[in-house]
């Protein structure tokens, strides 16, 4: 329907165009004929007016008439009249009734106007329009006559054969041009169609339009399509811009979180290596870089095997890979030979999973377990020692009892010795169990003091008596330094005795034979001080900060060869601390040690707990 309307409009425009063109052509031809007529009229009338009057009367009259007659028949000249001064015709070439149809005023004007004139008039009784050209003939400076010529300009037909032919040719060319232009424009618009189609495909969110399925409309349709596409593109652009802002924000948050995660990884006391599926290192934390002694650019994007050339760990990782990441223990203990400290590490492996639960990399962590191992070893050693310490008196009691019961000891004195030994070992066992209970209470933080009035001289002597036997066996001299008066303490007598005996016992244990020990008691304004000095093996600089640690024992062979649980000084330190006192130690290897226990004086009154 639309196409039909457009076709009719084009046809009307085409016809109007042809009409305008024909009209213009007609006017142009009319104007050309008029001008031609003027030139011809002027020329002929001037030419004839050049002849003297006698030529129109004498022998030349025939020649002139013959010449003009040719014009009269061929070029629209309908009359030629030569008149004398009086207006009498000397020559008249005209159709029979033409002269009679010339209006009088036209004749008069031609006869009496000097110079060339042109007049156009309607011939009387006809529709013919006549153009009359008149020019006076001068002889001897006087007007001797007038030449008048009338030209009939026949009306020009709008649809003459020639014009129709011309218009036909023009129409043919115009139609051909229109067809060419149409196809040219269609051809030129094809890329525009394709652009439009592509735009639609981009813009329409539903099913994309297949090429060629879009109707090839006119330019308006294309422009309209493009306009819609541009609007949709604009909407889409705004949507994408909003999404872009959203994504930028999310990226910022993710970057921030990533930075946070890396900061956390850098701050922990674990070594962390993250790899991709090809075992290329994608991240390593500061701890691990320090451990390997490498810089980040020496590690990132390098193969794990190149960076971590450790046979045990490599074998462990290969074994885990071979097990296809099955569940189970994924850790080993490893040491790094290049580290002088010989520290132990717990190397753990876990696999990174992607969204589809597929493995996308590994995380290998390195936890320094040296202190845990050390503590574990110390604890194991402690348990072993405690077991030994407990079972030794039990073994003695059991075997001595067995001998007595089997009547293998006949001698009365020997029997007494056996009974005494059983008694001593029972006491020893009891003491050991009490110490263990105290240690256990310290461990649980439930050790309570049973304070009472304690005489310092009694505490001093009782402690000394306990170790004197052992000192005599090694021929060690113990020098006593006591104040003039003995202050009393408000303390847990038994625990304080344990603390002082531990110090004195250690002095005896770690002083060689024939050595010297000094045991002092002094009183100050606010405290009572027990001091023990010896000239024994002393304590190394490395061991000194740890002497009060639980389970800690020196690696010095002179210390390890002696029995000990590593709890004595720890227990002493706790007992002194519970009494509000302080303990300090100064020592130099091979020169001896000096322990000082400072206990605060406390006002005592009856009934105080």
């Amino acid at each position: 329907m639309k196409v039909q309307r457009i076709s009719i409009a084009i046809l009307v425009i085409f016809v109007i165009g042809i009409g305008i063109f024909a009209q213009t052509l007609h006017q142009q031809e009319q104007r050309s004929r008029t001008q031609d007529l003027q030139h011809r009229g002027n020329y002929l009338v001037s030419l004839v007016a050049l002849h003297p009057m006698e030529n129109f009367l004498g022998s030349k009259r025939d020649y002139i008439v013959k010449t003009l007659a040719e014009y009269v028949t061929s070029d629209g000249l309908i009359y030629c009249i030569v008149q004398d001064q009086t207006g009498s015709p000397l020559l008249s070439l005209a159709h029979r009734d033409v002269v009679a149809k010339i209006p009088t005023d036209v004749e008069q004007r031609s006869l009496y106007v000097n110079g060339l004139i042109q007049q156009t008039y309607k011939m009387v009784g006809t529709d013919h329009t006549i153009s009359e050209f008149a020019k006076p003939i001068f002889e001897g400076g006087q007007r001797s006559g007038t030449v008048r010529m009338g030209f009939d300009l026949p009306p020009l037909s709008m649809f003459s054969l020639e014009r129709i032919k011309l218009m036909g040719i023009m129409a043919f060319f115009a139609f051909s041009m229109a067809v060419l232009v149409y196809y040219g424009v269609t051809l030129a618009l094809r890329p525009l169609h394709e652009v439009n189609q592509n735009f639609r495909n981009i813009c329409i969110d539903t099913v994309p339009v297949a090429p060629g399925t879009v109707k090839n409309g006119g330019v308006g349709e294309i422009i309209k399509g493009l306009e819609q596409s541009v609007i949709k593109l604009k909407d889409r652009y705004e949507k994408i811009q909003a999404e872009n802002i959203d994504l930028t924000t999310k990226y910022g948050v993710i970057s921030f979180e990533k930075h946070n995660v890396f900061s956390i990884l850098d701050s922990i006391n674990y070594g962390i290596i993250v790899t991709d599926i090809q075992d290329n290192i994608t991240h390593i934390n500061s701890y691990m870089l320090n451990l390997l002694g490498k810089k980040q650019d020496e590690v990132i994007d390098h193969l794990l095997g190149e960076v971590l050339s450790h046979d045990q760990i490599t074998a462990f990782l290969l074994q885990q890979d071979a097990m296809k990441q099955s569940s189970g223990a994924r850790y080993i203990e490893a040491t790094f030979p290049e580290l002088d400290s010989g520290e132990s590490f717990l190397v753990s492996l876990s696999y990174l999973s992607g969204r589809k639960e597929d493995v996308i990399g590994k995380v290998i962590s390195f936890k320094n377990i040296t202190s845990e191992k050390s503590a574990e070893n110390a604890k194991h050693e402690f348990i072993t020692r405690i077991t030994h310490e407990l079972l030794t008196p039990l073994t003695t009691i059991n075997s001595y009892n067995e001998m007595l019961m089997d009547d293998e000891i006949d001698n009365i004195e020997l029997q007494k010795e056996f009974y005494n030994t059983i008694n001593e070992e029972t006491k020893r066992l009891t003491s050991l169990v009490k110490n263990l209970l105290n240690i256990s209470k310290i461990e649980m933080g439930s050790l309570t003091l049973h304070k009472g009035l304690v005489k310092s001289d009694w505490l001093f002597d009782d402690s000394l008596t306990t170790v004197e036997g052992a000192a005599q066996k090694k021929n060690i001299t113990i020098e006593r330094n006591l104040p003039d008066s003995f202050p009393s303490l408000f303390a847990d007598k038994e625990l304080l005795k344990v603390a002082i005996i531990n110090i004195l016992g250690n002095a005896v244990k770690y002083t060689p034979e024939n050595g010297h020990i000094q045991f002092m008691l002094t009183e100050q304004d606010d405290c009572i001080i027990f001091e023990v000095s010896d000239d024994g093996y002393g304590i190394s600089k490395e061991d000194l900060p740890h002497v009060f640690d639980k389970f800690y024992r020196s690696t010095d062979p002179r210390v390890t060869e002696q029995t000990g649980s590593g709890l004595g000084l720890a227990l002493t330190s706790e007992i002194v601390r519970l009494h509000g006192g302080e303990i300090e130690v100064k020592s130099k290897p091979d020169e001896g040690s000096h322990f000082k226990i400072r206990l605060p004086k406390e006002e005592y009154y009856l009934g105080k707990q």
């Binding site: 072993t384 020692r385 077991t387 030994h388 079972l391 030794t392 039990l394 073994t395 003695t396 009691i397 059991n398 075997s399 001595y400 067995e402 001998m403 089997d406 293998e408 000891i409 030994t421 070992e425 060869e561 002696q562 029995t563």
Partner: protein
Amino acid sequence: MENNKRVLVIDDEAHIRRVIELKFKNQGYHVITATNGEEGLDLIKSQQPDVVITDIMMPKLDGRALCERANELKEERPFLTIVMTCRISPTEKDWISQLQDTVFVEKPFSLQTILKCVDHYFGNQE
């Protein structure tokens, strides 16, 4: 009931040394004693005992080191070693089982058990 077999008792605990010494002397064994591993190793080399009864936790040279050193000597002259231990752990069992003519008794032990162990060793030899 005289016995020409020589028993070496190595322990830093005097009471244990004493009771084992008495038990074996009563059975006619010749008993010698040492207070630590180092002294014990010297006596193994010099006195060439037929039986060595030793503790594990001792000063100077512990029981394991002593047994390993003694094991080297057993290539020339075999003798029985009885290790007195507090708690027999799998690792302890391993190293003891790898040594020649070496057995262990757990504390607190019966003296009769040790004696039977020694008699059994000499009974097999005869």
